[in-house]
């Protein structure tokens, strides 16, 4: 699949900063189209993007790599977004990290669960363009 710092399909219109200055984002998303899209957008915007396709892979990456912010889908295989959130919040090393729930699920119960666990934002994907998501991420990674 994709490389961690994949530059996406299109030619980026911006210059990419040097690796050490780049903010590191972990994108946990199981839909390949959306994964590709957000990956490309954030890479174009100069972020270093790590991707995970399910909750377990996401957890593994969180433990192995240094990450500044997590974009978390909720309906993901192996370990659900809610369960992954629980694990993150239980881990003293990770619990302060900004987390943006990026999901298309707006089931009242799940939404309450996720919010109760303490995410910084709960975004419905279809309500935002990738650029708008980037704007929101910038609030947490200035």
């Amino acid at each position: 699949m994709m490389q961690d710092d994949s530059q996406g399909l299109g030619a980026p219109a911006v210059t990419i900063p040097q690796s050490q200055d780049r903010k590191k984002i972990l994108l946990i998303e199981d839909d390949p189209f959306l994964l590709q899209m957000y990956n490309d957008k954030f890479v174009n915007e100069g972020y270093e993007v790590n991707v995970a396709h399910d909750g377990l892979e996401g957890l593994k990456m969180l433990n192995e790599k240094q990450v500044d912010l997590v974009l978390l889908d909720i309906l993901i295989p192996k370990l659900s977004g809610v369960d992954l959130l629980t694990k993150i919040k239980e881990d003293p090393k990770l619990q302060k990290m900004p987390i943006i729930a990026l999901t298309n699920l707006s089931n009242v119960k799940e939404e309450q669960d996720v919010k109760a666990k303490g995410v910084n934002e709960y975004l419905i994907k279809s309500d935002y363009t990738p650029t708008q998501v980037v704007e929101i991420v910038k609030k947490y990674l200035p």
């Binding site: 189209f33 957000y38 298309n104 707006s106 279809s126 650029t131």
Partner: protein
């Protein structure tokens, strides 16, 4: 003699009541064994009470002795065996019955035989001033001790298993224990206490009668939790009592004419009663059916919610990808694109956004209606929400050749207490309608303070206008204006949701329109903070 009449009335009532009770239980309950044991227990309680009465009122010593012995035989079978098995085995569903039960059963058979055929329990009877009294045999105390032990086992076991019981069973057991309490108290008072004080069994009959309380409580517990319906039971009970009274009346008729009239009345009551019971039964059955259907509907509603929620999720994912990629191309992530392509992409964006709104509306309508939505209430700058909506519709409006302007008075920046996402949805719904229905001319979004403490947003268009008739129905669910627009759009949910949301935020929404001139939608919200 007065007491005797009183006792007779009580006895007849207990008989009628007990039989009716046993009959109901036999007809209705679910568990065949429970019904059988309850009925047996009832019959033995009735025998006990009746034999006791016949014994005490017997004219000769031999009849008195016979009835008292029958009385005690019935008790020795009833109390230790039926009572024990009924409670332990059928009420508590315990296997304790198999172990101790056999011993209790054998002992009660022994006491039964001893009471009936020997003088060891009841030695003799003697004529007293109040009636026939008992002279107890040497083993009668052992029977009392045996009965007490059984009662203690039953109560201890009931109390012990109380905690582990289901809520429903607890209530059932509560009734049962209440019945037992009255029964045992009465027995202690009349059969033991008064017997010791007055050295006479003349009060024993009242203690025996108290068994009816136990029956009533137990029957009620069974009735309530074994799918009986109290309404049917009450009707049947009253009807049965009426029948018994009227039937008894025919037997004491004083003349043939009166007999004829009484029989006629009785027959009419029977017919009327049967019809009454049938109609009540039908009504109750229908109610049960409705309750069942209601339960199914609730289940279906839950399934529907889950389905809608999942369907929305599945619809949103491809929409997100379309919207995302189109926006990225438009924003230059793939490099420069021709102006014509940009216009086409702007159109795709607009229709994709329409689809996104449609999905959101479908998802939200039932939640807002049922108050299940969770609002993220915040102090929100209303003009910011207006501006955001304005910018997101400007392209679409200009593509249609409509001028779209925003009028914000200098210095106005009122803060309202709303859910910012939802208020954008409100303004978006109104502006999107204006863009949709206006073919030429101008859309004007204005914001102002009509009076102190209130902020108002007006969205005016130069569209076809809405008739007064239709204006009234605009905010109704699924209503879509068509007469003036000439065409219909959407699901008819947008304005309905908009109104629900504004209502929720403590505001007012309205419309003013003139045919061929245009329409103005407006809403007002209370100001939280003036900036």
């Amino acid at each position: 003699m007065n007491t005797n009449i009183f006792v007779q009335i009580v006895l007849v009532s207990i008989n009628a009541f007990g039989l009716v009770l046993a009959w109901w239980i036999l007809r209705g309950g679910n568990s065949k064994q429970l019904k059988l044991w309850f009925s047996l227990m009832t019959i033995f309680i009735l025998l006990w009470a009746n034999f006791s009465y016949f014994g005490s009122t017997a004219r000769s010593v031999s009849t008195g002795l016979l009835f008292y012995r029958l009385n005690w035989a019935a008790v020795s079978l009833f109390l230790p065996s039926f009572f024990y098995f009924f409670v332990i085995y059928f009420l508590l569903k315990s296997h304790l019955a198999s172990k101790i039960g056999i011993i209790i059963f054998i002992l009660s058979i022994i006491f039964f035989i001893l009471s009936l055929f020997t003088g060891l329990i009841i030695k003799d009877v003697v004529q007293q001033s109040w009636g026939m009294g008992i002279v107890f045999g040497p083993l009668s105390d052992y029977f009392n001790i045996f009965s007490a032990i059984v009662a203690i086992i039953v109560i201890t076991y009931s109390v012990q298993s109380y905690k582990s019981l289901s809520k429903e069973m607890k209530v059932k057991l509560n009734y049962f224990l209440a019945g037992i309490f009255v029964f045992i108290t009465a027995n202690l008072v009349f059969n033991v206490g008064l017997q010791v004080i007055f050295q006479s069994v003349r009060f024993q009959i009242y203690g025996d009668f108290s068994a009816i309380f136990f029956l009533v409580f137990t029957a009620y517990a069974i009735v309530k939790y074994e799918l009986f319906d109290i309404k049917i039971i009450a009707t049947e009970g009253l009807t049965a009592v009426l029948w018994i009274v009227l039937l008894a009346k025919t037997f004491v008729s004083e003349s043939p004419v009166q007999l004829l009239i009484n029989i006629l009345i009785f027959l009419l009551t029977v017919i009327f009663g049967v019809l009454l019971i049938k109609s009540v039964t039908r009504e109750v059955k229908q109610r049960q059916l409705l309750e069942e259907l209601n339960k199914k509907l609730k289940e279906l509603d839950k399934q529907k919610d889950e389905f809608v929620s999942m369907a929305a999720h599945e619809l949103r994912s491809p929409l997100t990808a379309i919207k995302g990629y189109v926006s990225m191309i438009m924003e230059g992530d793939t490099g420069d694109i021709p102006e014509k392509a940009r216009q086409y992409l702007a159109d795709s964006m607009a229709v994709t956004d329409r689809l996104v709104r449609l999905v959101n509306n479908m998802l939200n309508v039932s939640r807002i209606e049922e108050g299940r939505i969770v609002y993220q209430m915040e102090e929100t700058h209303l003009i910011r929400a207006v501006q955001e909506v304005y910018y997101s519709y400007r392209i679409e409006a200009e593509r249609k050749g409509i001028e779209i302007v925003m009028n914000i008075p200098n210095g106005l920046d009122d803060v309202v207490y709303v859910d910012p996402d939802r208020i954008r949805e409100v303004i978006g719904n109104i502006v999107s309608n204006a863009v949709k229905f206006t073919e030429k001319g101008k859309i004007e979004i204005s914001i102002g303070n009509p009076r102190k403490g209130v902020v108002r947003v007006d969205v005016s268009d130069t569209g076809p206008g809405i008739t007064e008739e239709e204006q009234k129905k605009l905010f109704v669910k699924f209503y879509r204006a068509e007469s003036t627009a000439g065409k219909t759009f959407g699901t008819g949910l947008g304005l309905y949701i908009t109104k629900l949301l504004i209502d929720n935020f403590g505001g007012v929404i309205g419309v003013e329109s003139q045919i061929d001139k245009g329409t103005t939608f407006w809403f007002e919200l209370p100001v939280r903070k003036q900036v």
